[in-house]
């Protein structure tokens, strides 16, 4: 009887030890992947493409959230504490990030460390507000002194961001450098191939005037040739005044501006009001991956934006150039 009991105990103990080691191995296998934390879903999408199955990527923010307004939650610090690589947009977009980095107590990802990647290095920046030669102050609203941080809306900047991410991944996982480089090559090729299609689709509407809610589109409009001639927010970050809305409506009528672009994180009341007075179409366009359910990755972001822009231009009877 005692022998039976002992034998049972030994079996259970052996099985437990086996399970423990199996789970330990599984943990190790998981740990071999680089743990990458990004500040945006766009960075996440690109990092996933370059990193492939060698990385495990998570974004701190949602694609539909306003990237300027993010809560520095302590739970983010826990994520960053375990991160191998932290990828951020840079410029002065993520003022909240420093608080998280300090709170995470992970020296490997602090500024200047191998795990800290700034995706904006070397990108083409637009919308640097210069008034009277050199003056930039808060009377312009929430301006970004280094340039408009929504630069990822130019696919060619996406390639530069991918290069910065590639360098970051290589620094932290040199044994996979060739794998990352090959993925980067494929990413560039995919961007180039799709960019040709996107530009061809947008070409007939080059020079079309539109209104936007926020200053999210300088890089996109430069690349694809549309003109954002006015904003619902007269000054970025400052709620529009009734007088400004009245002026905007007047202008849209007189200049026959028939499309108003709005980001998902802004209220729809004012755009709808403008639309009711001008018959312009209000087009909600995501500015980031996962900004809308349909937008799954960085390529899909442009697919969605361009598909919807073109169909809205057609719906509004905007005549193609050629």
């Amino acid at each position: 009887m005692l022998k039976n009991k002992m034998s049972k105990s030994v079996t259970i103990l052996s099985f437990s030890i086996f399970i423990f080691f199996v789970s330990l191995n599984a943990g190790n296998a998981y740990a071999k992947k680089l743990k990458v934390i990004t500040t945006s879903t766009d960075l996440k999408s690109i990092a996933e493409y370059i990193g492939g199955d060698k990385v495990n990527v998570e974004s701190l923010t949602k694609g539909y959230a306003n990237p300027h307004e993010v809560d520095a939650k302590p739970s983010f610090m826990v994520k960053l504490r375990k991160a191998d690589v932290f990828i951020r947009i840079g410029l002065d977009l993520e003022q909240w990030a420093q608080l998280l980095i300090d709170g995470a107590r992970n020296p490997h990802i602090r500024f200047g460390a191998p795990g800290h990647v700034i995706a904006s290095v070397g990108v083409d920046l637009q919308g640097l507000a210069v008034r009277g030669g050199a003056m930039i102050d808060r009377s312009l609203g929430d301006v970004h002194i280094y340039g408009n941080p929504h630069f990822w809306l130019d696919p060619l900047n996406g390639k530069i961001m991918a290069q910065n991410i590639l360098e970051g991944l290589k620094r932290n996982s040199p044994e996979n450098a060739k794998y990352f480089e090959e993925n980067k090559r494929l990413f560039d090729k995919e961007i180039d191939t799709r960019l040709i299609k996107w530009m061809k689709r947008m070409k007939p509407y080059s020079g079309t005037n539109v209104i936007a809610y926020h200053r999210s589109w300088p890089n996109f409009s430069k690349r694809f040739g549309i003109n954002v001639v006015g904003y619902v927010e007269l000054r970025p970050g400052i709620a529009p005044s009734p007088a400004h809305i009245a002026t905007l409506i007047k202008r849209m009528k007189s200049e026959d501006i028939r499309v108003l672009i709005e980001e998902p994180c802004y209220e729809t009341k004012i755009p709808k009001f403008i639309s009711s007075k001008t018959d312009a179409s209000v087009l909600t366009l995501p500015v980031s991956v996962e900004g809308l359910n349909e937008v799954k990755d960085y390529f899909g972001l442009f697919d969605y934006i361009i598909d919807n822009l073109v169909s809205t231009f057609k719906k509004q009877g905007i005549t193609p150039n050629d």
Binding site: S120, I238, C265
Partner: protein
Amino acid sequence: MRRAFVYLYCISFLILMPEIVLASNDTPNQDNLNLEVQELKVLIMEMRDGYEARMNEMQGMISKLSEQKFIEEADTEIEKELELLLNEKDEQTIFSVPSIQTAPGGFTGGQMFQNLMMNVSAIGDSVANVTWPERSIEEGRGDGTFAENEFADRISLREMELGLQGVLDPFARADFYLTSEDGGSISIEEGFVTWLYLPFGLQAKTGIFRTSFGRMNKTHRPEISQVDYPSPIKNFLGTEGQKEPGISISGLIPNPWDIYSEFTGEILTPSDEGVKGKDQIYLAHLKNFFSITNNSSLELGFSFQTRDISDTSDATLTKRNFRQTMEGIDLTYIWRPAGQRLYKSFTWQTEAFASQREVGSFDNGGFTEDVKDINSLGFYTFGEAQLTRRLFAGVRFDYSQFPTNDKDSEWAITPYMTFWQSEFTRLRLEYSHKERNSVTSPVEEGDNSLTLQATFSLGSHRPHPF
């Protein structure tokens, strides 16, 4: 083709070889000849295998090269086509000059430039008060429930705060906040260095800082959600909260659920009791943060501190010290939908305080006698809802006894509205009704106060923790 040729050659050789051998029938040693033939056969087979292997290798290389050439050609075609499109578009954009001037991104990478300098900020906090029953500033400072100078009939720049914050080196940062009240002399609100990366994930700071007791105490007065600190904070921690010189060490407690759980231990030298030497404040705080959903979170904190409150100016009183011990619990719920963060939010915050303060007297031998505890309690709770992008409304209820007097208590109700003109300018209108239930000095009627507050911020102020 070449492979076929090799095969043909080998087969012909094998067929013809025996004939040649048989033709020379007059060879004396047939066995030796057969052996040589076998060896030759093996040699030929080996040669054939070698040839085939090399041929396969070469063919592989040729197809790889062809494939690469094809990819390169395809890439070049894409690049050429793209280049054409881009050039064409650049010509077009020359004629569509944007409404604001643009400049190329000379300072790309951002913040690197900014980080070479410290962040400098100034916060102004101006208030205009009307109180009734009517009281002047002097009366206001004298007694009554609005004894503090922040509530009296007046208009004033209640506080000016200058913040200097920056990174010292790869291991530490420093924060200084200098403050002046009512245009008076400048004092240090906070000034401390923080070592960010100590062993075992610890952080330490030393200097003068707001202590970690509770939640609201860590926030500077101009930045809290109402005009003034709640009564229990004023009564238990000081009229402007608790800030002391000391050392603070904190660490994250590892746990399998990845919950943010931070333990802080502090040793502080009290600046308000005249206590010297080894009589320090020992403080502990445990902060736990739970993400309930993507849009809502809960923070639960526990605080404890103990301090000596004896009058040590009398060197003979060394037999026994009087102590005050305080406990606190704080609970904060925040709902802020990520997609509509600009327009909708709700915050509910509650803190409760308990104090046990020993009082008594000393006999001629320096021993304590008639020792008893004053047990007092206090709490506040407030809820704040965001109505529009810029407008917030809230109400706070305070109840507090006094650490030195458990007979009296006070309560207050404070509704308010806050208008954020921008991220840097805030206007607030607040009404407060406060009553005191006093046994020692009965008060017949409650006090009322209406306050208009304007808070404004210049420069780069480091964001506050969530």
